[in-house]
């Protein structure tokens, strides 16, 4: 883990509200694993005070990419960063996906901005696993398929791709895959993850979900990001025990 002063290398607008930021962060780039995140100080002022957590979207040489949308003051400031600006980045943080193991096909499920961690995972998997990506969104303008492979899209309003939820789309795909061993990797809004968790746990499918939470430190000292363990007996921390959890390990 590093605190690295990082230079903005590019800032690309992906859609109306979504940006792809590239920073030069050699130490973080070399040590990052898919599914991990960084905690980014977007300003040197005390407003906003806290860092903002972002999934590592991709790594390329000494550069790290973050995919984000404008959600509040912090992300607004981040969206205004220009080439040459410096950002102080803490990372890589969290556990990341368990992507090694005995399976043939990786099924990526992304809802909206939940696509963020998957370009990096796709890159790491492509050499030795089949990857299919199911991307869901409310409508066609919100579909983010940046650097994903074998993409099928589902939209709530049917404006593009499958008309329905990405979980309904998954159920159809899985029927066709039945003879393969597969593992599901998912990230997206909570209702999507809840529906996925219910389906995967009932059908006993191998599924990892990446969660997001409000947090302050990002490495376990503030205790600000608890999530119920599956038995409800204790809390796990999204930052340190996650952000990736086996779908059977947590209560959403």
């Amino acid at each position: 883990m590093y605190i690295e002063k990082s230079r903005v290398e590019s800032q690309t607008k992906i859609n109306d509200n979504t940006f792809l930021l590239k920073v030069k962060s050699p130490s973080i780039a070399i040590s990052a694993s898919p599914g991990q995140f960084c905690n980014v100080k977007v300003s040197e002022n005390t407003t906003p005070l806290l860092r903002r957590p972002f999934s590592i979207c991709d790594v390329e040489g000494e550069s790290v990419y973050f995919l984000f949308d404008i959600h509040g003051e912090g992300t607004k400031i981040l969206s205004q960063k220009k080439i040459g600006d410096k950002l102080e980045i803490l990372g890589p943080l969290g556990n990341g996906f368990q992507f090694q193991g005995d399976y043939e096909t990786a099924i990526i499920i992304a809802g909206g901005l939940g696509s963020a961690p998957f370009p990096f995972l796709t890159k790491k998997l492509s050499d030795y696993k089949d990857v299919i990506s199911l991307v869901g969104a409310r409508n066609k303008d919100l579909v983010i398929t940046h650097n994903l492979r074998n993409v099928s899209v589902a939209t709530d309003d049917g404006s593009i791709g499958f008309h329905g939820t990405v979980i309904d789309l998954l159920k159809r795909k899985i029927e066709a895959l039945s003879k393969n061993k597969f593992r599901i990797f998912a990230c997206g809004p909570n209702p999507m993850l809840k529906a996925l968790q219910l389906y995967c746990n009932e059908s006993n499918l191998d599924c990892q979900i990446s969660l997001e939470s409000v947090m302050a430190c990002g490495f376990g000292i503030c205790q600000g990001c608890p999530i119920d363990s599956a038995d409800g007996e204790s809390y796990l921390l999204v930052c340190k025990d996650g952000p990736v959890f086996d779908s059977k390990a947590v209560r959403l």
């Binding site: 005390t46 430190c217 503030c222 205790q223």
Partner: protein, 305 residues
Amino acid sequence: MSGIDLSVKVGSLKLKNPILLASGTVGYGNEIAQFTDLSKLGGIVTKSLSLKPRKGNPPQRITETPSGMLNAIGLANVGVEVFIKEKIPFLKKLNTTLICNIAASSIEEYVECTKILNDEETIQAFEINVSCPNVKEGGLVFGNDIKSVGRITEQVRKATNKPLIIKLSPNVPKISDFAEVVMKEGGDAVSAINTLVGTSFDIKTRRPKIKNITGGLSGPAIKPIALAKVLEIKRNVDIPIIGIGGIMDWKDAIEFMIVGASAVQLGTVNFINPNAGIEIIDGMESYCEQYSVNRIEELTGSFQL
């Protein structure tokens, strides 16, 4: 080497420098040790311990506010037994002064915790949290009741000979009265201030942003209040003070010492810059050089009115 003496005394507690990391912002040392060399600090104050483990409050526990944050963690902690078994061995190796913070829901529990932990040589002092704003037992926050604070100090004093620090609540009309009670009942020092009660609502849903409804406000937003409280204690009561409240850099730390703090604690800043402690020590040393302060202790209460 500048030759400046950075060591300070807080009552009978000697520290190699005035920078402590505050309870609840450093866990039990292990996570933050990845980012900073804890042996260079004056010391660390561990997350509040209670007799039995506490799960803490349900999420959402924190939210950001202008130049600050609200938290209602609810004293989530591993409990005394696990602390001794699993956390002390690591803390022992740190080569930094270890102050153990204790929170409890009864006077008996404070005493019991202190007695159990008192045998641990690694623990050099106790800080008693009478002022967590987020956990109420029977509707009472001890820290807001002067008789309770006096009684806790008196009883815990009997349970240990180690330096005893009482962490005071700012959510009271006159904090110096509380400091005076601590002094009379045998406390060695007070730390001031704990967080201020605050809240924040979402205007779209009209719901509180944190589940506990209210939380403790910390960060630079509270620094002027904390400074005023430290100054008030300094001017009215003869007891060493550990200043806490929104310290972000060395200038803030110096300011706290000038108004009366013998040492300071860093809290929220650790979440943003886990190496802040060391940077602040360096900055304080440079300040001392520039202003010909040979012993940093000379700063304590050196305000000019």
